[in-house]
Subunit: 347 residues, 4 copies
């Protein structure tokens, strides 16, 4: 059994992680910790756990290096994890970080976009960007896995095959993303007060959302050169789910079939990516509660653009599910273990 | 492996049943059938099944007695199942009916409330009301299990201990029930058109809802005499979940502790009933996606009434989950098999 | 023109009041004030006012008695208004308080339920309970009008005719109330965070909600003797609207027609009460955005109970609309002035 | 008083039109008609009208030319109105068509996209595209006003100033649109069944929505040459509101200020267009219930693109409100008459 600890277990992603770990056949939860709820019974904080898990939520351990663990999950706001991890720790157990601190390889990019000093830049070369379908092999060997963001997973997976196969003009990429409100977390804010966001839709952080450099860094790697994109997040009055509608200009002579083959080449065997039939747009309802990413695309012959729709559950494939998928890879377990859920419908 | 067939697999309850059966370790799905979608791929009808189950939805078999099955689930509108089942069939395999046809023992009550002729009254004595926590022993021996309604499961479980222990005035029971819209099914109707029920709440079928006689018949059995209740259903703008708020006058000298002990006596060891701490009201969010029923109660000393709140997922414990729980009991499998899900939160 | 000031203008009720006052033909808004937003442009706080009202939200005036006003509206949390009002002020202008401080005549009841000292008990005899349809004549003469609560307006209006005409057993009244989330106000709280209350329903403050004594005091006045009720509020995932489902045992020999006549006797000429056709339940969608209360009832002959459904918009008839109705009465203007809106549908 | 008739009064746009006409000080409603509800009381169909308007919904008049009217509003599905209107009718009274039949000047475009024959192509030269802010002068003189679509109003108004002032590359326009479910109408369909679209988002009719040619025709007029755009509509789980997020490549040397001046030049004096402060994205909640269009924009210096957000209420400025605005213009009444509502918030 893999001994797992969860730091930051009372945010939405942390809680979802605990739920999934609890039913994972190869995992034993060693501890769950939290700053705000230390000392409380976990099932008092989240009554869905009532009668199913009876442990106390502890305060975050002072010295992580003394923990008897196989894997540590950290699910903290940016800037909190970089100071907690050290090479010493990484020699004892694997760390899978659901936060942003180890996702960007360029420390300047990180510090500019996040406006915080990175506390352990020396660890960045050791970290792997944990987008399973893209970096499976390096994930398998790494002790520090930076679990991707929710928007970024949904965006990058939609576009990578188009760039790898040079099917689109890389300067023309526009990603119009829509997220349910769990994406904003459990912290109280007027913008996520029920009566302020229910029955309304808005764009926010236009041209300034922090997932932009993460998308760009990964797409640049795929393309082999630097790429800039427009990324516009929107808040949708629903609990879960992300839909990305991505646009790009097709290169001359690129047809529907070529594109289809490109997606099949990269994702045809992927257990968690479902390529939808021609012209079938992705919908969040079919992935909610599952670790799937659904991808559909259409070609507009009039404008010669491709429109890709991709959908995932932001707390599962966009956070906790992918973290477990990363763990499965890193521990050489069947990759789908503990993640074999269908979307529940309608929910 | 238990060979299972599902008739009426494309309603919400039917689909939820297929989803749960698919991940049940002891079940093999033999067929799924439907009137409206015969011939279609099941994952085209419900794309959450895409890449997970690749079978065709067939038309309802003409002669059920020729089926090679261990259990047949029927999930049809009332009046459709009674004519399909026969003693011959019941000798070949077990039938678990998610519809209303075999729930009421009194055929007159059935025909009055449902305004339809019962096609197989001779089978009624063979049927067992499949409320697992109440009728576990007879369910284990029966070949015809009438799976309870969603409102009724939530209502009856909340009140049975109070009647069995004679803690309340049985003529004073009022059940004010609130349901998500999946309770109304997948058939199109103006009342469940998104923009007609979103952002609004209403009561409906006041003093005339068909779950009333079902509640009364079961409560009468518990009390040992005929009981009449007020049952008022409401439509709430959410997908899933039922909450019942039930009121009754306490008999003289009945205190909080007596009540608590009564609930613990009947449900203390039940795997799917969670008795909430004192004065903690049940909420649908903590049971959605699970087979749990949460029950909480308060005593109003000023009016000497008890107020019981009970919550369940109408498609799971209120339909498909309880059907599987019944199957587990009937096949002498561990009762929680395939039903061991926590509620997903927030969803 | 009536010069009106609004203290507490940035809560939901306060904002709705400002919106309604702005289009009232006989009112000039003198100032709007707020503790939290003092100094901000009102249309920056509420961009629906952008280009329609260009005034600054000021801090609450220190000395109210110096204000040059005809009417002052106060929309503050309980305990804040009682210390601000004095006889001197009431001689200068009328006060309409949307808070709880002057609603209960019994100071002990107030202090017990609200757990706060009342700062001006000497003013209680001067105040009138501003339920327009019940107290129209005394409202017309009063300088201190206590605008009723949202739940209470919806509850009391549903039941008064039944008590006045002695049609029901007064000890049998149960009010099961359901409210949209604006009822909980604009203050941040985990319970009204979008993803905590969306897609779920719960009861709260069972047998302990502060609107209970207000309902009881008014019903007791109607009945001519002390009445105790069960009042259970529920939180429904929608922005606006309250639905009350009320139950009572009918006295012997009371029939549908007698009840209908009772409602017509008291409300037949009321501009803002709509008596629905027989057995038509009220729905919040038909009153949202309007000052109407819709009332429907059914008789359950099997249990001899009446079930009354009543619906209103909690921010209009349940708060700001009724405050303006009170102002219209108090200033001897046509009672419907500025309140003549249909419900917008679907919204 | 303007005598107005409404054909197609029981769809959502028709009903909203009746509501707005009812409170318009210069209008008298002559009749409301409907195919599906002929003979029913209008307030039985829409109980928000109960006690406010007591007329019967008649069947559509056979011979429109005999109607004694000043203006006829038609709110029918495409293909139904073109055969009903004639020059004779247009000589008797004005026609404002909320449907699609007279919006496109190019009959081939109409017949290709709508797959229906146009029954009165000879009237197309007489019709004016009723986008008030763009065509005010010709609207004033016309007897046949083609009221624009909801998506189109929101899209065109966002982009026209950019084209008129040559600030963007006209081949780079991408409009990512999001609509509430009223946009899909009141007809029953599985896609708008509550539990099928609640808590989910999807794109639909990618590269094939019928509002595309309407947008293109109008933008082409503004640009002075043919323009092709990408238009992608999405269905959002909310009742009302449209948000368009539009993207275009800025021409060299175009700065924030130039853009701001362009918008002010065209819309600075418009009563129903609100230009938002720099980098403030539009939100549907601030326009719902009003006739406003809110427009905000941001410049992404990294990609040199402009991102424009525009929001309106699809049933008001996107349908019934604009129809009345057109009527006001056509009858030389103050343009804002009967449309002077703030958005109600939160609703």
């Amino acid at each position: 059994m893999i001994k797992a600890g969860v730091i930051g277990s009372t945010g939405y992603a942390g809680q979802e992680l605990v739920r999934l770990l609890l039913s994972h056949p190869d995992v034993k939860i060693s501890f769950v910790s939290s700053k705000s709820y230390a000392g409380a019974s976990y099932s008092d904080i989240f009554p869905n756990f009532y009668k199913k898990m009876n442990i106390e939520c502890i305060s975050t351990p002072e010295d992580l290096s003394e923990l008897d663990l196989d894997v540590l999950f950290t699910a903290l706001p940016h800037g909190h994890t970089s100071g907690m991890i050290s090479s010493k720790i990484l020699k004892k157990f694997k760390v899978i970080d659901l936060g942003a601190d180890f996702r960007l390889k360029e420390i300047n990019t990180y510090e500019n976009w996040y406006q915080v000093k990175h506390e352990s830049p020396q660890l960045l070369p050791l970290s792997v960007y944990g987008l399973c379908e893209i970096n499976r092999e390096s994930i398998a060997k790494s002790n520090l896995i930076a679990n991707p963001g929710c928007y970024t997973t949904c965006s990058i997976l939609a576009i990578v095959p188009l760039l790898k196969e040079s099917l689109i003009d890389p300067s023309s990429i526009i990603i119009d993303a829509k997220s349910g409100v769990t994406g904003a977390g459990r912290g109280l804010d007027l913008s996520t007060h029920f009566t302020e966001c229910n029955e309304s839709i808005k764009a926010y952080k236009i041209a300034s959302h922090r997932h932009t450099p993460e998308i760009e860094e990964q797409l640049s790697i795929s393309a082999g050169h630097v790429i800039c994109v427009n990324f516009t997040p929107h808040l949708v009055p629903m609990n879960r789910g992300i839909l990305c509608t991505s646009y790009a200009n097709l290169k001359e002579g690129v047809h529907q079939d070529t594109i289809k083959k490109a997606y099949e080449k990269y994702y045809g065997d992927e257990p968690f990516i479902r390529l939808l039939p021609n012209n079938t747009p992705a919908e969040t309802r079919w992935v909610k509660g599952s670790n799937f990413v659904d991808i559909g695309f259409s070609v507009d012959l009039r404008t010669n653009r491709i429109i890709v729709t991709s959908a995932l559950d932001n707390l599962i494939k966009g956070a906790a599910g992918q973290a477990i998928q990363n763990m499965n890879i890193a521990f050489n377990i069947q990759e789908t273990t503990g993640l074999d859920h269908l979307s529940i419908f309608p929910i």
